[in-house]
Every structure is written in C-alpha cells, then in structure tokens.
C-alpha cells in the first residue's frame, strides 16, 4: 500500500505508523465530562468502506496527518485537512 505523505509524497506503508480513527473529535483539554471521554476513547464505528484515520510518517518527516482510506479495498482517498 502506498500512502501519500503530504510532505514526502507517495511512500510505502512500511514507513508509517497507524494512529487510529480520525473521524471523531477529541474532547478539548479541560473537558471533565466522563461520557464525552468514554465515547471518544471506547466507541468506534469500525466501518467497512470509507474511513478517515490518523497516520504518522515515522520513518520520514514524522508528521501526523489524516488520511481517507477504504477499509474494504485499501483504496486511498488522499489526505484530509
């Protein structure tokens, strides 16, 4: 699988680290709402199909970014801002 690093270009997946679901909003720092954190940390859609996820180019520029990837086909939709 090739992943389009926004800085280094298309690179092999072995250069990256997967960072999980990026479709949810992390509660802001200072939020003490237990339910908000519970839902953020533990509840995932786990979709078969289009998905937005975090990746870090650990063997390259070390930048984190959001990537659209189809979990069923591994088709890469590109970097999401």
């Amino acid at each position: 699988m090739m992943i389009p690093c926004p800085h280094c270009g298309d690179r092999d997946v072995s250069e990256f680290r997967y960072g999980g679901d990026a479709s949810k909003q992390r509660p802001a720092h200072g939020t003490g709402d237990l339910k908000a954190w519970h839902d953020y940390v533990f509840l995932f859609e786990n979709p078969k199909g289009p998905h937005t996820e975090y990746w870090q180019h650990v063997l390259g520029c070390r930048r984190w970014f959001k990537l659209a990837r189809n979990t069923a086909t591994n088709e890469i939709g590109g970097v999401v801002s």
Binding site: M1, M2, D12, G30, G32, W64, I76
Partner: protein
C-alpha cells in the same frame, strides 16, 4: 522399447554446447537450451516418479510451470531444494537432481503397495479415520502416513545460498512475454514510459517459443530486439510475478540458479523485487486442460501443447506414434507439428464432426482422425503402450505417447489477487478476469483472446492505454505478422466421457484426486468448491491445481446439475508458483534479522568484560566480569558496590526529548499527571503520563533547562511511543500550543553514578564544580563545560542511594566514562550492569516496565497522590471511571519471602493462604531480586486489594516447576523509606 527420442535437427537447443548434469546418481546429458524435463525425455526417461498417495508410476504432463508430476529434489546437502518442477529448471553443468517419493527407485517402488490399499486413500479418508471420535489415533498414524505420502524432504541444514531483494519502480509492468505481452511492452516502451517486462520462462515469446512458424519467429525476434534497444525498458527472464498487492505493488522473483551463483561473492540465487508500477498489463497466457479418462496418468500421457512444445522447442518427440485426444481445434496444431517431425499421429476427437479445413490439412500430413471418439483406456504400467478408443470408433492403437487437449484455462491468478473474482466466459470456455482496477489491463489468452492476431492487437492496445494512464501519450502500435488466420478455440465441453473404463481417472495428478473422489465429495455434501478442495485436497499441491481446477469444478457442477459459473471458483492467492522461503527472507537472516541498537558506550563495555542482554532492540551491559562469571553471582556484588561505595552504570538507552517553546511548561503540565508549570529552572521532577483511557503510559523525569526549554527522559521501552504521542498531541490536537519537540535519545549518552560515595567520585572527576548538597541538592540539575564539552548533571536516583546522572553528547561518552572511572578510582568506583540496576530499584520500590504494563492505573501503582488536583491532565476523566476506582483492583505490593531455603520467581501466581492453588489467582509477581540489604528474596507484585492486605501471609505458586513459597505482603519500599540517603 524407446518411447521418446531426440530429433536429429531443429529446436531451440544449442547442439554445439553439450551439458552434463547428474540425475539419480547417473550422468544426464543434454544441450544448452534444455530444461531438466526435456533432457529427461530426450534420454527416454519417461517414468520419472511416483504419485503422492498411490505411488503410481508417473511421467511428465506439461512443459511449463503447470507441471504436476515432474517434481525433483535439486542439490545436495545444505543446498537441497525439494519439489522443484523439472520443466522450470535450466539444464546446466553441475546440476544434481533426484527423484522423490519413491523408494528405493521410481522404477521399483515398494510403496506402490499404497496402490493396492487405495480405498484407504479416497477423499475424506483422513478426516473420517483420524478426526472425530477416533481423534487420538491420528497421533499414532501420522508419522507413517507422512512418511508414505508426500513430496520431497527439506534439509534441516542452514541454507548457504544468498537471497537478495531490491525495490524498483516503473510506469508499466507487463507480465508475460507471449505475443500479447511483447506487443504491450513494445507499444508502451515506444511511448518513453519506463517498462518492465517479466516472464517466468528462460526466454521471451511465450507460446511462440513452442511454435515452428518462421514468420512468427521473425516477429518475435524483431519485437525483442527493439524492446532491448530501448533505454527505458527492462526485460526480466526467469522472473515470476508471484503476487500483486495494494498500491500496485508487484512481487517479482528472479531465479538465478542456472548461473551457479557464488554466495561468497555476494551473488544471489534468487532476487526478489518489490516493484511499484504505475500501471500493470497482464498477459499471463493460458494453460491447457487435461481430459479425464481411465488411466490418464500413465507415463507418456501429456498435454497436447506439451508434446508440441517438446517437439518444436526442445527437439524431443515420441519415437513412432502419438495419439491425441481432443474436444477442440487447437489439438491439431500439435498434431500437425508432430507429424511434421515424423511422428505418426492419430487424433480422437470428441466432436462428431471436424471442419473440412482441418480434415484436409491433417490428411495431407497423414494424420488419422476418429471423430466422435475419446479414450476408453490406456495401457502400459511404466509407460503408454496402447490406447483403446471409445465412442464412435472403438479401436486400439499402439503408441508411445498420448496428448490431451481439453481446452484452455486463462491464467487469471494475478487479476484476482486484489480480491476481484474471475468470471466464466462461455465463448472462451473458461474463467477470465472479473474486471480490473483503473490502472490494470489484460491482454491475450488470459482474457480468453486466443487467436494470435487478436492477442497482439489487444496487447498493443493495452500497452498504449497503460502508457497513456501513466502519462505517456504518444506511441506507435505493434502489428501482428502478416497472413495470420486466427482459428476457432471453441470446445465441446465433455469433461469425462461416460464410456471410460474402470481404471482410475485422475482429475488432479499431483494430489492424486480421481473422478471418484469428486463424486464421493459430492455424495457426502462437500459441494461448494472450497469444500471440495479441502475434502479431497484437490488443487492443494505445489501446482495449486493449475491443470485440475476447471475439470474438477466442471464435474462438480455436472453432478449438482448447475452451471460452472454457478459452482464458482476457488480463491487465488499469492504466490503464483512455489517459492523458496529463502527468497522471501532475502538478506534479513542471521545478523541482519532485525536491527540492533547500541549504546554510545557499547565498545567500552565489550572491551571491559561486559556480558550483554537483549532489551528490545538494544544490547545492554547485563553484568561485568569483575563482579562474577554468572549473572546470579555478579549482580549481587554489583548491588553491594552501589549500596556501600559507588558504581557507574550506562543509562544511555533512556528516551530523551528536547521540549522548547513559550508553551513548553503548559504542554508538560498537560501530559504529566503532576504539576510542571512551576518547576524552577535547574530542577528535575519525576513525572507520570497517562493515556486518554486513564491507564499509565510511562514515567520519567523532566528537567527545566531554561524558562522555555525542558529536557525529558522516558523509559527505554517507551521512548518511541512517548515521542510519537507528544507529536500527535501537538500536531493533531493542541495546535494552539507553541512548542517544538526533538528526539535526543541518540544525541545524549547517560551514565548513572550511584552510591554513598557518588558525590566524592564526581568531585574527583569534576574538581572545578561545586557539587555540595547546597549547590546541587536532590533533584537539582546543572550544565557545565568540561574539557571543551557540555556536561549535564542531574541529581536523581533510581537505586535509592545518593546518585547522579551524567549526560554528555554521545561522541564523547566513552572518553568521559573512562575519565570518571580513572579520576574517581580512589573511591573504588566500578561499572554495574542492567541486572543490578533493575534489582536496586526493586529494593527502593520504583516501578519500571514490568509494572508499567499498560494495564495499570496510577492508584494501582501507589502513585495516585502525585496527580494534580487543581489541573487537568491527559487521562484524568477516565482515570476516575468506576472500574479504575475499584478497591478490588490488582495493585502494587512489596513481597518478602518467608521460607529462606526457597527462591522466588518472576511471574509466580499469588494466592491467599486459604485459597485452592488453581487458576489465575489474585495477582502475580512482576519483579524479583535477592536483597543484599534484607538478605532474602524480595519482590514487587500486583495483588487484588493491594496494600489493604499488608502484613498478610500469602502463597506464590510457580506451576511450571511445581513450586510454592510463603510470602508476606509488605510496603514496596524495602529500604530507606524516609529518603535520607537520597538527600545526603
């Protein structure tokens, strides 16, 4: 009698270059251009082995990669390679090959008794006999069955050959160099695109290599010549495209065995290429199907295309007469070419009528044709002697060989590696690709386009489209040679004639699966093709059913009364062809198996008697020879050194991170549970981090170097995790914080100076510095120049003694370390290793990696009071969820052994005194050591309810060694609870 012979002329062999190989201990002669298979046939070696289950005599079936029977063991000793298809082995001087699965020889095989016991080996035999109620008997029978059945044996010796790998990139990858592939590669190449043409064969041309038409040959030579002249094209022979993966990654494996590579010179036997192609043209051709009839596995019964290939390409033909049985027109290519080579040919054609054109061309060559006929039975135990026809013409024919022409199966494997199922094409009478992603193309026989001119046109189009997709617009097409007439490839789908005799009729030669096995599978309900495969082992051999799959599923469809597309097909997975494990491992063997990480002090440790231990990727100094020859004796002496004098330990493996920026303090205040906002410059603080889920991520220390700069250390194990985590928070979530982080793990070396004499030692090493308790109190830090280098001194302790860490740029680590040992020699300072380091911290009750196992909360580790009450920090909310607050959680305790004659083991399961010793217990021992202070074994552990049980006597069980010992639960701080030593 002779069945096969070398023709006096013709073929693609070089008669000026004789080759001598060894086969079963005897010389095997041939010519350059021969394969092991063609050389065997040329030497009339028709019987070449025994079948997998029944040990029936077998001969070659094919001339290409689909060969099911002709598997041999190559090489000797450590280079032994079993199960290699003779059709894919170039005959070279020095080649050594052996038959397998026959004892003592293929001609006289004692195991042929299996053939008499054959009812035992029908489909489902293993399952019925050894699974289910009589499961235990499998254990008993397995070694015997494995010995009798099966293929060649691998050697247990390390492989001395070298296997290499490389990464490559191109615009257009063309797989297969038959007419379609050549046309595609050349058309794409003419556009200027970077083209790679790969073919598993030793030469380019695919089916053209087996033909005998001068016009076709001229076209082939011209195409290859032009392609090789292009600087942007690379041609790879003997290179199999084994698999296609996401992102157009193709894995190519080149076999260089024929060059007799010398590993000592770095020459590889196999070269694996991970090729990223912008586009891929598949021109993988088609494989001929056998027909299913009684005794169709007699040596000498082959694919008609194989007979043609041996005759035209290798100049090896049946001695006098061949019978060809067919259900389609393509068999006549073979019949005509064999007749041209002087072989008398009879054709049995399942079809009731044959076209006038064929009748006249065959008649001109003296070929006898029996329409409406097929094979009733084949005779000849160790080689074909006679064929009895059935159907319209029940005649008996003496012959040397039989050719089977059951139609063609497109090689759709690569097109389905991405998950696209092939579809059945009625016109092509076979499965063709079910579709392609945008950057993939197919051409020629693999698409069911069998005619030469149509295949070339399709190939040229595909090459142009692929080049265009890759951004190369302008090209010129490749045209077919003149006067080519594409013939019909229609077949009469007769898979198994009803008039066949009662002998075994094989569907899968390699796995020894007969038509009867398929029937049994059907009767017993294993009707899905996936079940059929697993129940009968059909298609599960090294050939993966390249010749058998379609016949088997056509038969199953017939039994079920459904169509072939309704029956479906099995899933094709990489690798396409058998692959030596070495090719996959490549260079990552031995010392290169994984990266090794070395401390900047490593060379010193090596020269000064350290024994090393692996800690993750690191090699760490475990203990030193001055203290003892074994870790058990050495670490105790090293601990005593630190408790009574002073020791020096390498802590360079700690993660180290530079944190800078106006918001650095706020950032740290968020990631650590305890406060860092008000940490003064020149001070160090111990800190703990949580994950979002409230579970402890890591601990460490952070020093404030200036208002806007901090120096963080992490545990060795979590250094990478923590760095990524900080980057994640800053880049993805806290983008409002103005902070920059940089890893210093490789930049700074660290050494711990520990023990009551630590200050004295350092004062000797750095006489110009004021190291008094007032000038550098506990948890103080300072940078100072020494001999032209900046030294960072941090007063903190892992051992519980008066201690410091000395950090310095890694390039100077060895000279500074040596300087400290030399200057402080009057204190008796010596190095101590990881075992002592880890034991000292157990006595002090410091948690480390074994306790921080990503399952524990702050409170589990007794660190709950550290957390700031007035501030927010990562993990705070979920730290207080109900389960994390339960008093029944397993939490940190100290453990003291009550039985002095016993020893404690890490990982022991903890039970209450009254518990039955069974199951998972109430906790376990995380870390254990001999305590030089208490003169007993002590341990840290996690125990249900934790220190709520302080003072209780419990039991540690180690069931693997059948050991039990009584322990007492105590505070985890075994020494100096008040911390007087730290502040000395």
């Amino acid at each position: 009698m002779t069945r096969f012979r070398r023709l006096p002329q013709g073929g693609r062999i070089d008669r000026a270059k004789p080759v001598s190989a060894r086969f079963d201990g005897k010389a095997l002669g041939g010519f350059a251009g021969d394969t092991l298979a063609s050389a065997l046939l040329a030497n009339d070696q028709v019987l070449i082995g025994r079948s997998f289950k029944y040990h029936r005599p077998r001969g070659l079936v094919a001339a290409g990669i689909e060969e099911p029977n002709g598997l041999f063991t190559l090489g000797e000793g450590a280079t032994t390679e079993p199960n290699v298809a003779a059709t894919m082995v170039d005959l070279v001087d020095g080649l050594v090959a052996r038959t397998q699965n026959a004892w003592p020889s293929a001609g006289f095989d004692l195991m042929a008794v299996n053939s008499i016991l054959s009812p035992l080996f029908q489909s489902g035999f293993y399952y019925k006999t050894f699974m289910g109620p009589t499961k235990g008997s499998w254990m008993f029978y397995e070694p015997f069955i494995r010995e009798a059945a099966g293929l060649g044996k691998a050697t247990g010796l390390p492989d001395p050959d070298r296997y290499d790998m490389r990464y490559a990139f191109c615009d257009v990858l063309v797989v297969g160099s038959g007419p379609a592939g050549l046309a595609a590669a050349l058309t794409a190449g003419r556009s200027g695109a970077r083209v790679v043409l790969a073919d598993q064969d030793s030469d380019f041309g695919g089916s053209l290599l087996s033909g005998n038409d001068a016009g076709h040959e001229a076209w082939r030579i011209a195409c290859i010549g032009e392609l090789k002249s292009l600087p942007n094209a690379e041609t790879c022979a003997r290179t199999t495209v084994q698999g296609l993966y996401d992102g157009n990654l193709a894995v190519l494996v080149e076999n260089r065995s024929h060059l007799r590579p010398d590993a000592r010179k770095g020459e590889a036997r196999m070269l694996l290429t991970q090729l990223r192609a912008k586009t891929i043209v598949m021109a993988t051709g088609a494989i001929e199907r056998p027909l299913v009839f009684s005794n169709n596995d007699r040596p000498g019964v082959m694919l008609a295309s194989a007979l043609r290939s041996y005759t035209n390409r290798f100049a090896v033909a049946p001695d006098k007469r061949a019978v060809i049985v067919t259900n389609n027109d393509t068999a006549y290519q073979a019949a005509l070419d064999l007749a041209t080579a002087g072989v008398a040919v009879t054709v049995a054609d399942h079809r009731a009528s044959v076209s006038a054109d064929i009748l006249s061309r065959a008649g001109a060559k003296g070929i006898a044709i029996f329409p409406g006929s097929g094979i009733f039975d084949v005779e000849g135990a160790k080689g074909v002697t006679r064929v009895k026809l059935g159907g319209a013409h029940a005649v008996t024919i003496e012959c040397d060989a039989v050719g089977m022409a059951g139609g063609w199966s497109p090689v759709v494997h690569l097109s389905s590696h991405g998950g696209i199922k092939p579809k059945f094409d009625e016109a092509a009478a076979g499965f063709v690709p079910g579709g392609f992603p945008a950057s993939h193309y197919g051409a020629g026989a693999m698409m069911g386009t069998y005619g030469l001119s149509a295949a070339i046109a399709e190939g040229s189009n595909a090459g142009a489209s692929a080049a265009s997709y890759a951004g190369f617009g302008k090209t010129r097409p490749v045209y077919a040679p003149e006067h080519v007439t594409d013939r019909s490839y229609a077949i009469l789908p007769t898979w198994a004639p009803a008039y066949s005799a009662k002998g075994k009729a094989f569907v899968d030669f390699q796995s020894d699966v007969t038509i009867k096995d398929v029937k049994i599978a059907h009767q017993e309900g294993y009707r899905s093709v996936e079940h059929l495969k697993r129940y009968t082992t059909l298609g599960m051999g090294t050939d993966q059913g390249k010749t058998s799959n379609i016949n088997a599923l056509a038969l199953m469809a017939e039994y079920r009364g459904i169509t072939i597309p309704e029956a479906g097909t099995t899933t094709f997975r990489p690798p396409y062809a058998p692959l030596t494990m070495g090719a996959i491992a490549g260079r990552t063997v031995g010392a290169h198996f994984r990266p090794v990480r070395l401390s900047p002090l490593h060379d010193w440790h090596v020269k000064n008697g350290a024994t090393f231990i692996d800690a993750g990727l690191w090699k760490r100094a475990w203990f030193y020879s001055w203290a003892g020859a074994t870790p058990e004796t050495a670490y105790v002496k090293e601990m005593e050194l630190v408790r009574r004098g002073v020791g020096l330990a390498d802590v360079s493996t700690l993660g180290k991170i530079d944190i800078q920026g106006p918001d650095a303090a706020e950032f740290l205040n968020r990631v650590y549970v305890n406060g860092f906002a008000k940490l003064p410059v020149g001070k160090v603080r111990y800190g703990v981090m949580l994950n979002d889920d409230g579970i402890v991520l890591d601990d460490g220390t952070t020093a404030r170097i200036s208002d806007n700069q901090f120096y963080m250390t992490t545990t060795t194990a979590q250094a990478g995790e923590v760095m990524s985590w900080l980057e994640y928070l800053l880049q993805c979530h806290w983008t409002d914080l103005n902070v920059q982080v940089a890893s210093l793990t490789d930049e700074w070396a660290g050494m711990a100076v520990s023990g009551p004499k630590a200050r004295e030692a350092l004062q000797l090493a750095f006489p110009a510095e004021d190291l008094s308790n007032d000038a550098l109190p506990y948890m103080g830090c300072k940078d100072f120049p020494f001999e032209g280098v900046t030294v960072r001194l941090l007063r903190m302790s892992f051992s519980g003694e008066l201690a410091y860490e000395v950090h310095v740029a890694a390039d100077y680590a060895i000279s500074l370390w040596a300087h400290i040992l030399k200057a402080a020699a009057p204190t008796g300072i010596k190095p101590y290793g990881l075992e002592a380091l880890a034991s000292l911290r157990i006595e002090k009750g410091h948690v480390a990696g074994l306790e921080l196992d990503h399952r524990n909360t702050l409170d589990d580790l007794g660190l709950g009071k550290m957390a700031g009450k007035e501030k927010d920090y990562v993990g705070r909310a979920l730290r207080f969820r109900e389960d994390c607050q339960s008093p029944e959680r397993w939490s940190l305790v100290g453990l003291e052994l009550m039985e002095p004659d016993k020893k404690l083991r890490g990982g022991s399961i903890l039970f209450a005194a009254t518990d039955e010793i069974k199951g998972h217990g109430r906790g376990y021992i995380t870390s254990v050591t001999w305590s030089t202070e208490l003169n007993t074994f002590i341990a840290l552990g996690l125990y249900k309810g934790g220190l709520g049980h302080e003072g209780e006597e419990i039991i540690a069980a180690f069931p693997l060694k059948n050991e039990q010992a009584r322990l007492k639960i105590v505070s985890p701080h075994f020494i100096d609870k008040e911390g007087a030593r730290l502040h000395a």
